[in-house]
């Protein structure tokens, strides 16, 4: 099962990161191909996404189940395709960080998922700071920062798994970057003065 991890330093208290991330309604509509999501319970939600798979477009439903909800330190979740043999999961770990650093990959896994997580991290960074924040970050003397580590694993099941993974691969990176762009620009418009 492919697994990747990405780590970034954000110049905001981890409580601030948590405040935004913990409510998926904040960012759900910005997912590429987002159709709808349904909150089933405190731990379960169902996501309907439409995206490119190979040379066609397909609507898929993913069930997300939170297995550990321990904010602002850690969230763990599983993913399961309701109509497709796809399973996965991941964790979001936030720790306090002293010092200043640009975003970096701890385990810059090669391939699609690494790039996808890179885009996710950049999005999260811009989410908290706006698009100009990374440059400001480099000259910042703030010590109030959070280290965010995101891990994700996904795997298609069944005999077609190698082909499905190969078809999904080219679609995920553009989707992740599209998400980052949309949310960043959205927040820039709503960024409070000062």
């Amino acid at each position: 099962m492919p697994e990747v991890a990405y780590e970034t330093i954000i110049q905001r208290p981890r409580e601030a990161v948590w405040e935004f991330v913990k409510d998926m309604n904040n960012w759900a509509p910005f997912l590429t191909g987002y159709q709808r999501h349904e909150i089933v319970s405190d731990t379960d939600s169902i996501w309907t996404l439409k995206g490119d798979v190979g040379v066609l477009s397909r609507t898929v439903r993913l069930e997300a189940h939170v297995t550990e909800w321990n904010g602002p330190e850690r969230v763990s979740f599983t993913l399961r395709g309701l109509d497709e043999p796809v399973e996965g999961g991941g964790t979001l770990v936030m720790t306090e960080h002293v010092g200043v650093s640009a975003t970096e990959a701890v385990t810059p896994a090669p391939g699609l998922l690494g790039r996808m997580l890179g885009a996710f991290s950049r999005w999260l960074f811009r989410l908290m700071h706006g698009s100009g924040a990374e440059r400001a970050l480099r000259s910042s003397s703030s010590t109030e920062a959070a280290r965010l580590t995101f891990t994700l694993r996904m795997d298609a099941g069944g005999p077609m798994a190698p082909l499905v993974n190969a078809m999904l691969a080219p679609a995920l990176l553009p989707a992740a970057e599209d998400l980052a762009t949309k949310i960043a620009s959205h927040l820039e418009r709503r960024r409070p003065a000062g």
Binding site: K50, G54, V55, L56, S57, R58, T59, V60, D83, E84, P85, G158, P159, M160, A161, P162, L163, V164, N165, A166, M167, A169
Partner: protein, 551 residues
């Protein structure tokens, strides 16, 4: 100076469309020292050919001798005359066969198209029809990587209808369509990642490379040709739209209409194809534009019996789209073991393994009830099928979408869900099961055509590869629809140089057509896969040469 002089571009030959017809014409004009341009309405190159299986049917082709295959022009003609059944134009048919041999060789030697023979793949009607052979007439291309297309890589169609990155030999070597569970998906995934292309997408990759990369022939995407420019009875250019603005292109030698058929035209399929509804697997850009712009200048149209060409059954998987519209998947499952097709009366009506039998029967007319009793068809299968075979991309044991497939513990309950006659369905299945256990189908002779058995049979089960009973509940079923693959019964009349004929009988100077845009008078009342790609290639090959040689 002509009457119309505000040209945005001036060339010798304008190819309208970028399938085999358009690109072959552009290549031939270029190779004759003329300047060509390709105008493509869609956002990618390749046309309907890129959605096809990539088979080109060439009797007595130049690769057969080296492969040790015996064939002849005369045998090929005998078979195609059988298919034509008297509805073919003999001169056009002979021209197609003879020039097909030359065109295939030309594009191999001059344009780098790496043809290969699909091994052990028989003519449709082999061995029952005259002149058929057990192998050797289907050409396909060797795999090619998308990287060979440079900037055109993402602007050249791949197909949602055929496997990517494999050859026919690999497909059949893995057991064929019924044996998807045994396919080498690791290889398929690797080829997908590395963008290897075969079948129709591979074939068109070779032609795009030859035209756009190797020869530098310009192509304009999203450029819809609206009208022909005619002066003194001769076609001298086209008026197109590009990015919402007029784009006029002068054609000093000729315009080649190679824009496919009329699948997505609002009315033409209903007028010409004799079915109450029409659906298509091809790109939505195929709207019959060529018919409109040619007939308004007197071009003649002609047709053959509409019971014979590229039509299959199909269905839509909820949530699947392509090119912005719901995707039609082709269905061949009726010929698989443990499955049948029935009509609303609950009765079988054809050999489900051989679409040359069941497609004409879908149009059968009941003059008493004034309707087509076999339309629509229904696919019915049992749990044995579910446990062994795929339905499209749904492999066992993956659940089938409830919105697509009905399921019931008894045939009668299933019939009620599908809205078909339950009593008849029970009797039909009982009779079919008896045949299946005996291994023969006296009603429709299912499993007796080797080609059909390769496409829909299971050779691992022993006995008749297309027959096995429906005897394990639950039972499953779905209503099917007719789905076109872009090969129509009516088109523009052409002569043996692929000049478009006027309704008065003479050729319209400067106007040519190729492929599915042309009337299938060269093949008549029958069909054999690889014929449409052959018609496109030969039409473009001859039209491009003839136009380039015009004074």
């Amino acid at each position: 100076m002509g009457l119309f002089s505000k040209w945005d571009l001036e060339v010798d030959v304008v190819a309208v469309g970028s399938g085999l017809g358009g690109l072959s014409a552009a290549i031939m004009a270029h190779d004759a020292g003329k300047r060509a341009v390709v105008l493509e309405k869609a956002g990618k190159l390749g046309g309907v050919c890129a959605y096809s299986g990539g088979e080109v049917f060439v009797a007595a082709n130049h690769l057969q001798a080296a492969a040790g295959i015996s064939d002849s022009r005369e045998a090929g003609l005998a078979y195609l005359r059988f298919l034509g059944a008297g509805y073919e134009d003999p001169a056009l048919l002979e021209n197609l066969v003879d020039q097909g041999i030359l065109a295939a060789r030309y594009f191999a030697e001059k344009a780098g198209v790496r043809w290969r023979i699909v091994r052990d793949f028989p003519d449709y009607y082999h061995p029952k029809a005259p002149g058929t052979v057990a192998e050797g007439r289907y050409l396909e291309v060797e795999l090619i990587q998308g990287s060979a297309l440079g900037d055109w890589r993402k602007k050249t169609y791949r197909s949602p209808h055929v496997p990517q990155g494999i050859t026919h030999d690999e497909l059949f070597g893995w057991g064929g369509p019924t044996q998807v569970m045994r396919w080498d998906f690791a290889t398929l995934g690797k080829r997908m990642t590395e963008d290897w292309r075969g079948f129709g997408p591979g074939m068109m990759a070779y032609f795009v490379k030859a035209a756009m990369i190797d020869r530098g022939i310009p192509a304009h995407l999203e450029t819809r040709v609206r009208e022909l420019v005619v002066e003194d009875g001769a076609v001298v250019g086209v008026r197109a739209e590009r990015a919402g603005k007029p784009f006029a292109v002068r054609a000093r030698k000729g315009v080649v209409l190679a824009a496919g058929g009329y699948d997505w035209h609002r009315e033409l399929p209903l007028f010409f194809e004799q079915l109450p509804a029409w659906n298509s697997q091809v790109q939505p850009s195929v709207e019959g534009d060529a018919y409109v712009m040619a007939t308004e200048h007197g071009a003649a149209i002609a047709g053959v019996p509409a019971n014979n060409l590229g039509l299959i059954f199909g269905y839509q998987v909820p949530g699947e789209e392509h090119e912005g519209r719901p995707l039609w998947r082709g269905s061949w499952e009726g010929g698989y073991p443990h499955a049948i097709w029935v009509n609303a009366a609950g009765r079988r009506f054809a050999d489900e393994s051989f679409y040359r039998d069941y497609i004409p029967k879908i149009r059968e007319w009941d003059g008493v009830q004034q309707r087509q009793p076999n339309h629509p068809p229904y696919l019915v299968f049992d749990q044995n099928f579910r446990e062994k075979y795929p339905l499209g991309t749904f492999l066992p044991p993956q659940d089938l979408p409830e919105a697509l497939v009905a399921r019931a513990d008894t045939l009668r309950e299933l019939a009620a869900k599908l809205g078909i006659d339950g009593e008849n369905l029970e009797a039909t299945v009982e009779r079919f099961n008896r045949f299946a256990r005996e291994g023969t189908d006296p009603d429709f002779h299912r499993g007796t055509y080797p080609w059909a058995a390769m496409m829909t049979g299971d050779f691992t089960k022993g006995g008749n590869p297309n027959l096995a009973p429906l005897d394990k509940p639950p039972y499953h079923g779905l209503r099917l629809h007719v789905v076109s693959v872009g090969i129509n019964a009516v088109g523009l009349r052409v002569n043996t140089s692929y000049q478009v004929l006027h309704v008065r009988g003479h050729a319209i100077p400067g106007l040519y057509a190729a492929g599915n845009t042309t009337a299938p008078l060269d093949i008549g009342a029958g069909y054999q896969s690889g014929m449409s790609n052959l018609r496109g290639m030969v039409g473009g090959y001859l039209a491009g040469m003839h136009a380039a040689a015009r004074a």
